[in-house]
């Protein structure tokens, strides 16, 4: 069977458009490739996928008939995380869903279903970690600012949680790795990009912090140290719960 390489733009819509091509051309074996195609070997079957809203919407509509609302959210979350090389598994999942007469979401014997559930678990875990490990610092204008460096791109998945929890304070969570943030202005949230180099290092902008900020940071560190029970020390467990790469943004660990 011939192998066809689908070149797409790496977006979720692009991925859905690729699914469209699979069915339009009755493709069997496929490979996904993001961005430009440089290898011009003659025998390759290559299709450049145009990311097309209507096609993507059609695929999504078809998918909704076969997979639950939650299932689609999970696919989206798995894609959003941007883990390299995983879109092919999402494509496999969608094909399996389309080709099967019954709902396949719980078929954990299938490799695509299993992989998607693993991906979702990885993304969820990172989301939960961020919900736990965000540490806001109050700035002079009253905004609460936090810098984060999550393993996956989970900022969009965090909005709901932080918006409903901190409804009465302005806040910003900034992904230093991916260079964008979410800002909440007491009404709505918006994505922001800015040259924020200074705020990456929590201690380099002391002047921008509210008066009481260092007091509460200090109190929190004190609290963290006093609740420790030395006779029960268990460093392995501690590091398993808070891997070291998160420490630099945790007030109590700085």
């Amino acid at each position: 069977m011939a192998l066809t390489t689908l070149i797409y733009d790496g977006t979720f819509e692009g991925l859905l458009s690729a699914v469209y091509e699979v069915y339009a051309h009755h493709l069997q074996l496929v490979k996904l490739h993001t961005g430009e195609w440089h290898n011009s070997a003659l025998f390759e079957n290559v299709i450049t996928v145009t990311t097309d809203e209507t096609r993507a919407a059609r695929v999504l509509k078809g998918l909704k008939e076969r997979v639950s609302h939650i299932g689609i959210q999970r696919l989206y979350a798995a894609h959003l995380a941007g883990i390299a090389g995983e879109d092919i598994n999402l494509l496999g999942y969608m094909r399996y869903a389309f080709d099967s007469p019954v709902n396949i979401e719980e078929d954990y014997g299938n490799k695509y279903v299993t992989r998607v559930s693993e991906l979702v678990r990885m993304v969820r875990r990172e989301k939960h970690r961020m919900e736990a490990f965000v540490r806001f610092q109050q700035l002079t204008d009253g905004t609460f600012y936090a810098g984060v460096e999550p393993d996956f791109n989970v900022l969009p998945l965090l909005i709901r949680h932080f918006k409903s929890r901190y409804a009465d304070q302005k806040w910003m969570i900034y992904d230093i790795k991916r260079k964008y943030g979410v800002y909440y202005d007491l009404h709505d949230t918006q994505f922001v990009e800015m040259d924020f180099a200074d705020l990456n290092k929590p201690n380099s902008v002391v002047a921008a912090f509210a008066e009481d900020e260092s007091v509460y940071q200090h109190l929190w560190k004190n609290y963290f140290n006093s609740v420790n029970i030395a006779s029960r020390k268990n460093t392995k467990l501690h590091v398993r719960h808070i891997p070291k790469r998160y420490w630099k943004h945790l007030t109590e660990k700085i």
Partner: protein, 418 residues
Amino acid sequence: MNEERITEKLNILADAAKYDVSCASSGSKRKNENKGLGNASNGICHSYTEDGRCVSLLKILLTNHCIFDCAYCVSRKNNDIKRAAFTVQEVVDLTINFYRRNYIEGLFLSSGIFKNADYTMERLVRVAKKLRTEHNFNGYIHLKSIPGASDELMNEAGLYADRLSVNLEMPTEAGLKLLAPDKNQQDMIKPMGYLRNAIIKHSEEKKLFKKAPQFAPAGQSTQMIIGATPENDNVVLHSANYFYKNFKLKRVYYSGYVPVLADNRLPALNTAVPMVRENRLYQADWLMRFYGFKVNEIVNNAQPHLDLDIDPKLGWAIRNMQAFPVDINKSDLQLILRVPGIGLLSAQKIVSARKFGKLNWDHLKKMGVSLNRAKYFVTCNSNEFERRDLTGNNIKQFILATSQSKYLKNTQTQLNLF
């Protein structure tokens, strides 16, 4: 704010509160509907102590002054330690400011008893009331009720707190008499009974009228110290079971006694904290609450101690080899849940996935089953299975030999094993 003074108070009053092990901040569904601050939902661990315990709440005492003299407690009257007391406003400010920075899920407030039970309880309630009514705070509040506090105060506490707890302290009345001569088990059981009734009544009203007030929506819990008195696991777990059944408790916490005082009624100061035993008790507790085990199946007069080498589920399995092997592709969920190495989540996955086709070892492994243990107890769609006629003891030895470190050195307290 006098930073130095507050810091000192916080150090003293957090240090004194840390031996209360309950940290859960889940089980409440308080929403942020008033565009105020916070909500309470699934309970997040915002940090972990160096001993690996979850830090979810600001857990402090209002004061460590106390008129009682419980032998196991650092705050007891005759202990020569520094004393401190927060004002109501100080606790409120700390809670709000920690919460806004995403350090915590809420407050766990407890206290030594000053003057008398009601006087103390009234202060605790005032903190909760202020947070809710003046600061629009919807985060989690756990109040520890003072034994002997009046029904009126318990009622008010329930209206503002998410969870209330009355600590039993010792698994039996005799243990309590010995170590806490000022306390009386009735003073603990009475408010627990009051809370049980009030919680049931309010949740029924809530079903009828959406607007009915919430009352301790995360229920009530209790704590027992283990290892300070000689009660065995059979007594401890039967006592826990009794309180789960009769008082509709959400959780029973087991706190391995940390030697804090030299007293001939207590284990010596150099005694190790019984961490493995504590861990086994939590595992047993999980089996009772989520895995459909009866307390008698886990411990009984013939089997009064939990095996420290292996978890209680494996313990049950090797004592009951006649129940195995379980056919993964046919057996009821209830039976699959009893297989060592299969957790709640994997059991559910198995039952869902087998509708699509027969499952083999590879499938089980992908679903997170620990084959190292499960393989002795199940058959699946494969010709390979344990054919030797092994006794329970053989299996225990095999499993211990392949996972020595994990079993013997495991010291987790809040766990998700099996």
